[in-house]
Amino acid sequence: MNARTRHLRAESLEATPTISTERAELLTKFYQDNQGKHSTPVLRALGFRYLCEHKTIHIGPGELIVGERGPEPKATPTFPELTCHSLEDLRILNSREKTSYSVSDEVLQQYEELIIPFWQGRSLRDRIFEQLPADWRNAYTAGIFTEFMEQRAPGHTVADGKIYRKGMLDFKTDIRYAISDLDFREDPFATRRREQLRAMEIAADAVILFAQRHADHARELARSQTDPTRRAELEKIVEVCTRVPAHAPRDFWEALQMYWFCHLAVITELNGWDAFSPGHLDQHLEPFYQDGLAQGNLTRETAKELVECFFIKFNNHPAPPKVGVTAAESGTYTDFANISLAGQRRNGSDAVNEVSYLLLEIIDEMHLLQPSTNVQISRKTPERFLLAACEVIRKGYGFPSVFNSDTVVEEFLRQGKSIEDAREGGTSGCVEAGAFGKEAYILTGYFNLPKILELALNDGHDPRTGKQLGPQTGDPCDFDTFAELFAAWQSQLHHFLDIKIRGNQIIEQLYAENMPAPFLSLITDDCVAKGMDYNEGGARYNTSYIQGVGIGTLTDCFAAINKHVYVEQTFTMAELLNALATDFQDAELLRQILLNKSPKWGNDDDAADTLMKKAFDTYFNAVDGRPNTRGGCYHINMLPTTCHVYFGSVMGASPDGRRAGTSLSEGISPVQGMDQLGPTAVMLSAAKMDHVKTGGTLLNMKFTPEVLAGETSLTKLAGLIRAYFQLGGHHVQFNVISTEALRQAQAEPDAHRGLIVRVAGYSDYFCDLSVALQEEIITRTEHDLKG
């Protein structure tokens, strides 16, 4: 880093997240004047344009890449058309201990006087909850599944290389052709398509306008700028913001700014989950980098500086604030924008290039919370690159995380994608796989697999809420075999998946009808060609995911029950249920047996692992291939974000020896502390899952710094990764930090503000995490030489 980027980075770290009502105010005013005058798509696009016309333009001193989501860094807008926060919500956001957002009195006043009166009852969330049936709402409240679309738009996609080859004017040409191709005689939907396409065209113009305002502002700043260096920079900014996004970028700087304007547009239009991501940035920047070097108007240092400025922009955008369950399922500022390195090119060749190494260097030096970064390792990825990535990994920021590019491609092919689209795709969010630029791979909420077992053990009754939530699948004391218990779990699973999917269909349709995303659509294939919006199935691939959480806990529960109740008859089902109901009061002996004398997932022990497969297959069969309403279908993935903590909090004690209310296992990792035979055994267990049948699995591993110190350790880490990937694993990520260090940080957070750890598919500041999540991370097994 140089002086400029150090300064900008410090500024970004010091800025505190605040709520800005600018967007809400502007949009409310727009709706007051315009609702009812236009089709929904056009209304949304015009609203977006209104925001682009009127929102504050911010160009900070020293910045090279420009543009903010809110009026200033970390000023976070709200989206009342989706979720209208109550005053109480805002006060909670302001005062809560973790992931708080500062709420000024003006903000409260605006909400009270303008925003709530208009949007209450009108926001999509209100309408969603109104339409969802009682059984959905009961299951949701009980913590059987979550659904963030009640607060965030679907989102879930990543940019491909289009925006580096085409400008908005080119997209507009495509749109106009698409409109002129519409057949109003034969196609009953032609009018609808026309409206969607018009909306996209308006959105394209809006972004051009937004960029132009930056150019104008930069010009003004340049005029009054006395420092000649800065004046020259501002004049360059004028040039860049005039050129992109209207036209395709011509050089490295324009390429970065082009992406950034697109990013801002996506996250201004809606608050899509996972914001937006550059995807294979090293591939996209490579030609600009090489050309710049060749022509002499770019050096490695200036390129590095520009990318560092670019990175800092991501860090200025905490996620739009969430409340309630959705906050608990992902209690973090991270908005999951992801940058991928390495991987494969469209033609299958290795994609590692000089920019890949440059990015690694930047990741190492800057270690910012956002953007998230990952490396996509294929069998063609050179060892040198993997080792360079391992060097960064062992420093302990928790990134980059590591993905198996070959398994990801297989996953896509299984799902029916073309090989080129598969290779151009990758992973984003936490670990989800998607065809960048062409797929809407919407995650529809997390699913509490162990709680389903709790219901099966209670004949469908939820002990926590006291409600009969599920079907009556039988009194488990009457089950003579494990198979009967498993069948009960399966019945409960099917019952709640049906409820979830029925609810999803409702939510999907509400978004399709009421909340199109015209800008996102115009840059996602094949929305323009089809004349369809992103949220209604315009993309080439339209996938829905349900994330299975807690497979480790569930496996251990099944293994313990199988062994002790049915095979060895150590105790009866009645004794077990009694112990669970009282959270093991007066049953410590039984709890110790469950903890220590039962097969555990993560130890390469088939006594547990075959039960994992059984549960996984059942979940897979119940979900995979079911149609959604966007012309695609459902698949599963296995990642938790922070939901394993929430899902544990709504569950009583479990048959793996877990105490009531405590966290479940995360991702596909073993229950925290239960893997006792080392990292190879964990991976051998994990490899028994059929990763190719998912859209992503998440495996967390923790090492102390000592284990990875020294030259040979890097090779060993790389070897471990390669071996796991050869066995088919989708992803692995590493925390490299000692438990003592974490305890210290817990005790003295102010002295450890900079400590970043790996949570789920993202890193976060340890001190920003809830205590429950901190404890969970500490308990995650350390593979230690002293073990």
């Binding site: 009866t572 039984l590 047996i593 220590n596 004398k597 090779t715």
Partner: protein, 266 residues
Amino acid sequence: MCPQQTVTNGDFDPDRQARSSTGRNESSRLGTLMGSPLSDPPTVNSQQCLRCGSCVEACPTGARQWVGRTVTVVDLMTEVLRDRPFFEQSGGGVTFSGGEPLMQHEFLLACMQVCRQEGLHTALDTSGYAPQQQVMDLLELTDLFLYDLKLMDDDRHREHTGVSVQPILANLRALDQAEAEIWVRLPIIPGLNDDEDNVAAIGNFIADLSNTRRVHVLPFHEAGTNKKQRLGKRERESQSGSQPCVPLARLLQRLRLHGLEVHVGG
């Protein structure tokens, strides 16, 4: 509690052969265990210990554990081969160590033969104190010898280990003559074997070997004290852990002067 009471079959170690259970009751087995509530735990009489393992099986928290078990060649190699994908990536293999692996030389030979068949790299960590034939039998099967040298003077060696150093040196020479891959390991016990004389003698000896150049100096650690306690042995009054005769840096330098490739640790 021991040794007559029958207990459950609940073993946590996946590799152990399942013991046959003696008579399952209709009612829950927990009752038997619960008959000895946590407030009045069963006691173990180590004087009468028959090593039946009942207490290990009964202990619900796993606080009592077996150390050491009987395995067949097949048992062991099956477990080793589970990690094959990792060896293949890392270029690693199997290191046979101890104690002294040569004290089970037939078993060792059989296991190493399986390693060869399976294409695994083999290393043998040994004191070298064994009949020469046993050592040479392993020559073809061992890719790397990790060979300990502690004290060169025979009297001093006998005093601290109970045996002569001569066979150890003879075996080392023989292996070296046969061009085996050898890394000599010098565990340092400060005040006991790190004096100038011993270091010089070791340096000279290795320098005189034809093919062996590599030495790993192993700095002192206290990891053994825990084992001593668990075996019920008291800390011996000895010179171990006392002040070093020669600072480590100088020791390394001394060895390097003999033209040796000197590493620390590993």
